[in-house]
């Protein structure tokens, strides 16, 4: 069974009727199915035009669920979203970015999803739609665990919204893998930092992925950074204690010990990169 709705209403109705699986870009769904018979009904949302595109208004950036990583990477976005754009360029390869979507990345809820740390650092909200209506919640509450989300039966993600922040905000993303390209993260970190009028850090938001079942904000570090000089040197305030709350696992890609150590370094580097992003406003 295969359905290709053209509207959000039709997609939601199809979900209720068939209890099918949504397929957006298919880059998580298809590779996982290789040797299995594809039995679940597919609801292909690749023709729902209302789900695609980025709009900026009232200080908010709204990205439709089906917005691809290529769309995000090539859009003209405020500096607070440059980290998200850097992450977009790291998702698989160009061919994957051309079809893979932001909502697919979030709903798949892999601990190593590259979209999650930058969006957590942006305090992103996700919009969920069902036949009953719409609800929104912070991304931080949406992802519950490895492959577990708040998505209810009959519900789909329709948009992701973040605050555009001011021109004084900076952001960065950094990913560590076994090699440079086409790789699943061993650890990654995203930073969004706002500069106060006095040249110090007014607000910092740092998130780390692939080092816990769900990517996590480092709230102790965020607090410690406020008031520190807005310069790459502030990265030196990062200590092992700041990443001690992470709960990485041992797996084929790295040991837990390595991940904890790497996380500290990746956080320090992403901060330094973020704080040296001063040239362009």
């Amino acid at each position: 069974m295969y359905l290709r709705p053209r509207t959000i209403d039709a997609a939601v109705a199809a979900l209720v009727e068939t209890k099918g699986r949504i397929v957006a870009g298919g880059t998580d769904v298809m590779p996982a199915l290789v040797d299995q018979v594809r039995r679940t009904p597919f609801i292909d949302i690749s023709a729902v035009d209302d789900l695609r595109g980025i709009t900026i208004s009232g200080g908010k950036v709204r990205m439709g669920a089906r917005t691809t990583w290529t769309d995000i990477a090539s859009a003209d976005l405020p500096p607070a979203l440059h980290g998200l754009q850097a992450a977009a360029r790291e998702v698989g390869s160009r061919q994957i970015q051309n079809v893979g979507t932001i909502a697919g990345n979030l709903c798949n809820a892999s601990p190593a999803a590259d979209g999650v740390p930058p969006l957590l650092a942006l305090d992103a909200e996700v919009e969920l739609t069902s036949a009953a209506g719409r609800r929104s919640m912070p991304l931080a509450s949406f992802i519950l665990g490895n492959r577990k989300t708040e998505l209810r039966a009959g519900e789909m993600m329709t948009a992701v919204t973040v605050s555009a922040l001011g021109p004084a905000a900076r952001s960065a993303f950094l990913k560590l893998g076994a090699r440079r390209y086409l790789v699943i993260s061993i650890a990654m970190a995203a930073a969004v930092v706002e500069r106060g009028k006095d040249g110090t850090i007014a607000d910092a938001r740092i998130a780390v992925g692939a080092c816990s079942a769900v990517a996590r904000r480092l709230s102790a570090l965020e607090k410690d950074l406020v008031g520190k000089p807005f310069s790459p040197a502030a990265a030196e305030f990062v200590t092992a204690a700041h990443v001690a709350g992470l709960t990485p696992i041992d797996d084929v890609r790295a040991t837990a010990t390595y991940r904890t150590d790497a996380a500290e370094t990746v956080v320090r580097r992403v901060l330094a990169a973020c704080l040296s992003e001063t040239a362009h406003a």
């Binding site: 397929v23 298919g26 880059t27 018979v37 597919f42 292909d44 051309n98 086409l182």
Partner: protein, 165 residues
């Protein structure tokens, strides 16, 4: 079964397919266009790259039915009759292949890179942009040289030399 209509290499095709059919399967099995290779089936290797509405995609990730109405170009759509496409000619000229398994996908990605980045490509850009294509034979060196030359040839700069081959 679901009916799908798309344009493949300039020709309109309509078929009744099991909706679970991947685009890679569709072009190989239904259309007998076996130039598109399947190396991994998990969207890693890039042997199956085709263009859908002008963008490079891994055809093992995409359902054939979701390409309804789309325009698809496979490796078979590049040559002009007996005359190789400049990128194909460059791969031959520069020994950009050994077993040839990765080659169709490499060439489709290479053409996409030129379409996006122009004719003057440096080695770093080519290597970076080819991240989604894996070759187990060549060590990439000659592939990179071939893409660089093919890109120039597509711009017409050295087209004469290669096309006359």
């Amino acid at each position: 079964m679901t009916t799908v209509t798309m344009t493949v290499n300039g020709k309109s095709v309509t078929a009744n397919v099991d909706p679970r059919t991947l685009l890679a399967q569709f072009v190989r099995e239904n259309l007998r266009l076996t130039g598109t290779h399947v190396g991994c089936d998990t969207s890693q290797c890039g042997a199956c790259v085709v263009h859908v509405d002008g963008r490079a995609v891994k055809s093992c990730t995409v359902l054939a039915v979701s390409c309804d109405g789309a325009s698809v170009t496979t490796i078979e759509g590049l040559a002009n009759g007996a005359e190789l496409h400049p990128m194909q000619a460059a791969f031959r000229e520069h020994h950009g292949l050994q077993c040839g398994f990765c080659t169709p996908g490499m060439i489709m990605s290479a053409v996409d890179i030129v379409n996006r980045k122009g004719h003057d490509l440096d080695e770093h850009t080519i290597r970076e942009e080819l991240e989604g294509n894996i070759c187990r034979c060549t060590g990439y060196h000659n592939i990179v040289k071939a893409v660089e030359a093919g890109a120039k040839a597509m711009g017409g700069t050295v087209a004469a030399g290669i096309a006359a081959e």
